[in-house]
């Protein structure tokens, strides 16, 4: 091999640099995002596990049912009726986008485009204006 004296140390430095982030953070605990949960309500429209993993699928299903199929009936959970709607359903309990949606989405670095059109709850608008 030509220039082994340069290539091998170079490779070692490169790999070291690449792995630095892993070694640096090894062992340290990453705090799970803390969401603000609605007060006084225990059950969501689906089990927590499902909501954590698949809320986006549920939103898509709701969208298609409501707009395309005209199935606009309410969902009953523990005697409470919920509309199949992001703005008029979900966000009625989860009253803050900043303290609920954004916390996880930012943690996971996903940027859904829901809010390009959908209007965030009033509480958030008040927060924004206060800034």
């Amino acid at each position: 091999m030509y220039d082994a004296g340069k290539i091998i140390p170079g490779l070692i430095i490169f790999v070291g640099l690449m792995l630095f982030a892993i070694f640096n953070n090894a062992g340290s605990k990453v705090e799970a995002p803390k969401l603000e949960k609605p007060v006084g309500v225990k059950e969501c429209v689906k089990p927590v596990k499902y909501m954590k993993e698949s809320h986006m699928e549920l939103l898509n299903v709701w969208r298609d049912e409501v707009i395309r199929e005209g199935k606009r009936e309410m969902i009953e959970v523990e005697g409470k009726l919920y509309e199949k709607s992001l703005q008029n359903g979900c966000m009625r309990c989860h009253t803050s986008k900043k303290k609920f949606c954004d916390v996880c989405h930012e943690f996971a670095s996903v940027y859904p485009y829901c809010w390009d059109c959908h209007v965030a709850p009033q509480a958030d608008m008040a927060l924004q204006e206060a800034k």
Binding site: R68, G70, Q87, C117, V119, M125
Partner: protein
């Protein structure tokens, strides 16, 4: 059997002609059969695909929402039209871009010549020419916009309402080119933006989304309210004046059907065959 080359070629030729011609001849026969039977049964219910499209004579099945607009009442009550428009545009977060070119309209007013260019005859009376007509999406029974949409973002619902799914709209504006009524508007600018510090949407209604730049929008006949048994916002805004009557055109006992039976009404550009669901008393 003596067979010559000449005979073989003759038979081969005839069978080739028969083979090519028979299917198309059969098709033609089948078609004329269907035509004959549909002409005969035009007044009976036809829940097949063509019936759903609503042939002119076909008896309708299911719901088809429609509206009668009494232009005379709007003319006699100044401010009523604006009240309806405001009720609609404020609820649905319709932006006001402040210039005619970018204007977004769900419900607006047009003079007779623009609303009814088909109804042209020499020397119209001054009354008609001075009137303004409330115009909106006609929720056609045969909507050309739906055929034009490449993503099915616009479609006809089971209740005969031509709906928009803003999620799917890619902003190609084919529907706008297809709509003969100019009922669709395109968001050339971001509706959430501002101009000179004034937001395009004066006060955002938190119950309904806004749109984003590059999306087409139009009147939805208040589909979400209608399924809840409520009247569209514009109809509600007219109050007891009955300047607008909304209901199921397919239900002979509905208020709108009764009005249509009793009064002379006209439609916008009926000759195009779009079968609009909005009727005008002039």
């Amino acid at each position: 059997m003596d067979s010559s080359r000449r005979k073989f070629l003759k038979i081969a030729g005839i069978s080739a002609v028969a083979g090519i011609g028979a299917p198309s001849a059969l098709n033609m026969l089948m078609k004329s059969d269907v035509q004959a039977s549909s002409a005969g049964g035009a007044h009976g219910a036809q829940p097949d695909a063509h019936g759903a499209q609503g042939g002119h004579g076909a008896a309708p099945a299911g719901k088809r929402y429609g509206m009668v607009i009494d232009a005379v009442k709007f003319h006699e009550t100044p401010g009523l039209a604006q009240k309806c428009i405001d009720a609609c545009h404020s609820y649905y977060n319709v932006p006001d871009f402040g210039n005619k070119k970018d204007e977004i309209k769900w419900l607006w007013q047009e003079p007779f010549m623009n609303a009814f260019p088909d109804e042209s005859h020499y020397k119209k009376d001054d009354g008609l020419l001075s009137m303004k007509f409330m115009v909106l999406c006609n929720h056609c029974d045969n909507p050309p916009c739906v055929r034009a949409c490449p993503t099915k973002a616009t479609f006809k619902s089971a209740e005969g309402i031509v709906m928009m799914d803003f999620h799917r709209c890619i902003g190609c504006r084919f529907c706008m080119a297809a709509c003969p009524y100019g009922a669709r508007s395109f968001n050339w600018r971001d509706p959430r933006g501002t101009m000179d510090g004034v937001p395009f949407i004066k006060k955002v209604n938190p119950e309904f989304p806004t749109r984003m730049r590059g999306v087409v929008e139009k009147c939805s006949f208040c589909a979400l309210r209608v399924t809840k048994g409520q009247m569209p916002l514009c109809v509600e805004a007219t109050g007891d004046s009955k300047a607008m009557v909304f209901g199921d055109l397919n239900d002979p006992n509905s208020e709108v059907s009764q009005v249509l039976k009793a009064r002379f009404t006209i439609q916008r550009k009926p000759s195009l065959g779009t079968m609009p669901s909005v009727f005008y008393i002039i």
